[in-house]
């Protein structure tokens, strides 16, 4: 699931907030705006945006998901980069959509694919920011869960490098990092038992390293892991990487 090559850069960008931030995680979307503005980027939020369509796509109802994808492509029409604080929704734009439109390519869909950036990738590879001038008050162990939809993309390296450059931060590797957290959207509903066991294993590996903070790039994975952790009586402090960038700024 490689990133599209040669995505456009601009001082103005469109923010795709994602439905999870719209419903639950407003602070992640807010942090995205604040960090980008801190970097001199002007952020616009098209008000008619809804969801990338992934739930229907993954369920196999491509009639429904193509409808949603066309809506999203029209909301984000134009030339500007589209920035997404989620590896999963970004991958839907630049990969999933191309799969569901492979028999009848749609220029608006292809254009959206070519302009979509996961936010950490945009900062690191797009804007070329390789170190972050942030600081934790005291020594902080970070567990970074590179969610599955960032496999094969530039996001993992971007996050690891930026987090590690923060003063007093240590990114501590944990076991079986390639394993999924078990969320998978509707998968966690239709396969609740397997999903729960996968999440528990993931948590075990993360908690092995006794992190001060669990950092992710998808609120969906963090919602799943923290939801399980809380039920199991071992809550874990968690933030999106973009929140870490904002919160550690002087």
């Amino acid at each position: 699931m490689a990133n599209p090559i040669a995505r456009p850069l601009n001082k103005r960008v469109l923010l795709m907030g994602t439905c999870l931030c719209d419903a639950f995680y407003d602070d992640t979307a807010k942090a995205t705006v604040e960090v980008l503005e801190h970097l001199g980027i002007s952020v616009e939020f098209p008000d008619n945006q809804t969801c990338c369509g992934q739930p229907a796509f993954n369920s196999g109802d491509w009639t429904a998901s193509r409808k949603v994808a066309r809506h999203t492509a029209s909301v984000f029409a134009g030339e500007l980069p589209v920035i997404v604080p989620s590896g999963s929704c970004a991958a839907m734009n630049f990969h999933g959509n191309l799969v569901q439109f492979e028999e009848k390519p749609d220029p608006a869909i292809t254009s959206l694919a070519k302009r979509t950036w996961e936010v950490m990738d945009f900062i690191y590879n797009g804007l070329g920011i390789k170190t972050w001038p942030g600081k934790f008050e005291k020594s902080t162990r970070l567990a970074f869960h590179r969610s599955c939809h960032a496999r094969g993309t530039c996001t993992g390296e971007a996050v690891r490098t930026l987090l590690a450059s923060i003063e007093n931060a240590e990114v501590v590797p944990f076991g079986e990092a390639e394993q999924c957290c078990g969320f998978g959207g509707t998968f966690s509903v239709t396969f609740p038992h397997i999903s729960g066991k996968m999440g528990t294993l993931k948590l075990d590996r993360i908690l092995d390293i006794q992190p001060d903070l669990l950092v992710g790039i998808d609120m969906s994975c963090l919602m799943h892991l923290s939801g399980l952790a809380q039920t199991q009586g071992r809550p874990v402090k968690h933030l999106h990487a973009i929140q870490v960038l904002r919160d550690t700024l002087p």
Partner: protein, 464 residues
Amino acid sequence: MIGNQLIDQYARNITDEKQHSVINGAAAGTEKRYQVLHKDYLDPDAIRKIAASIKDHTLHHLGEYLAKAEQALVSRGVNVHFASTDEDARQTILSILQGHGVTQLTKSKSMAAEEIHLNPFLIENGVECLESDLGEFIIQLDDDEPSHIVKPIIHKNRREIAATFLREGIAADYNDDPETITRRARVHLREKYMRAQAGITGGNFVCADTGRVALVTNEGNSRFGMAPVGVHIALIGIEKIIPQEKDLAVFLNLLGRSATGQQLTVYTEFINGPKSANQPDGPEHMHVVFMDNGRTDVLASNCKEILRCIRCGACQNVCPVYRQASGHAYRSTYGGPVGAVLSPILFGSRFPELADLPKASSLCGACNEVCPVDIPIPDLLLRLRDKAHREHVHSPAAIPMSPFATLATSPSLWRTAMTMSKAMNHLPIQVAPIKPLQDWLGQRTLPDSHGGDFRKWFKGHKKS
């Protein structure tokens, strides 16, 4: 109903013992594979891309390469047969055996033979058929089914095997030391080998340019099985062709490393045809049975990339769902990610019954990441979900999506729904009589709704 997926139920009911065997076996395989690939190659990813393109090229010209392979095999004195269905393959093999008067044979491990249930068929027809791979031999003793492509007994532990040996009279006493188990199997099998009249094998690769058949094992059983017999039959799927012998350099290097974390499998045979005049032993007759059995249908489908598969099992090892549910949950010869794609389309008439397999995935993509021929398995799973939906195949995983699509294409309705979702914060949703919701919330908490808060903040922020 939702949440009543067979594979999820299977994982719920699996014994702890079996689950531990599968998880430990699979995780060890993943770790070893990673170590050896990265120790030996600066960029393992580049090699699997080459392998993928060789396979794609071959599949694109499969008719030509099959004809070329046939010609090369015939010129080496091999009898070549084509079987279009499983029934054809079974009958072809039976008539070859009958033609040579064979009543006893040994068989090395072959997924193609598993696919057509060759063993029970031959036994029914009066041919004694002994599995010579240790894992498959144990499967045969237990009347069980393999649950992994490379490690058929990944779901068993040594205590169970020791008990089987005692029960079957292969061991005089209970001993679960792996070395003892293996030595006992060796004594038992060796005697059987010597009485066999034919050997059946699969084939990992057939080189179209020379007709050479490459066969890998870790026990040397297929090679040993060839020594005393007069007839060798290789049952091979038509997708196993590679254009040239030199392509083996790519595939053999990837296969051992991906399958078992070995640089090369312990025994790698290059079979040139029947015994030649100056060879002291080996089969005088060699037959290759090329089997289609649904493969041309797969080739014509939008999932043809799955035919690149070289049966290494790396996708099974890494798959979190396979680890939880085991290969048996997939109810077909091929389990795990490769099986979730291959089984429903290879056995086309069973599609409705197996349409749940492609849904048994969080689409995490670990399978694609480890695949030595870079099969985009998650994309193929999605295409099969789309196929099931288009063909109206009932599935308990089908959450109705048209209301979602309506909501997600009506921005003002969407915004209203977001704001209203805050009301949920004051409702005891964990007691709502909705089974999937209860299943979900039984294990996880849901965060409080902040529906619409970001939009509100952003408007204020822009004004300021």
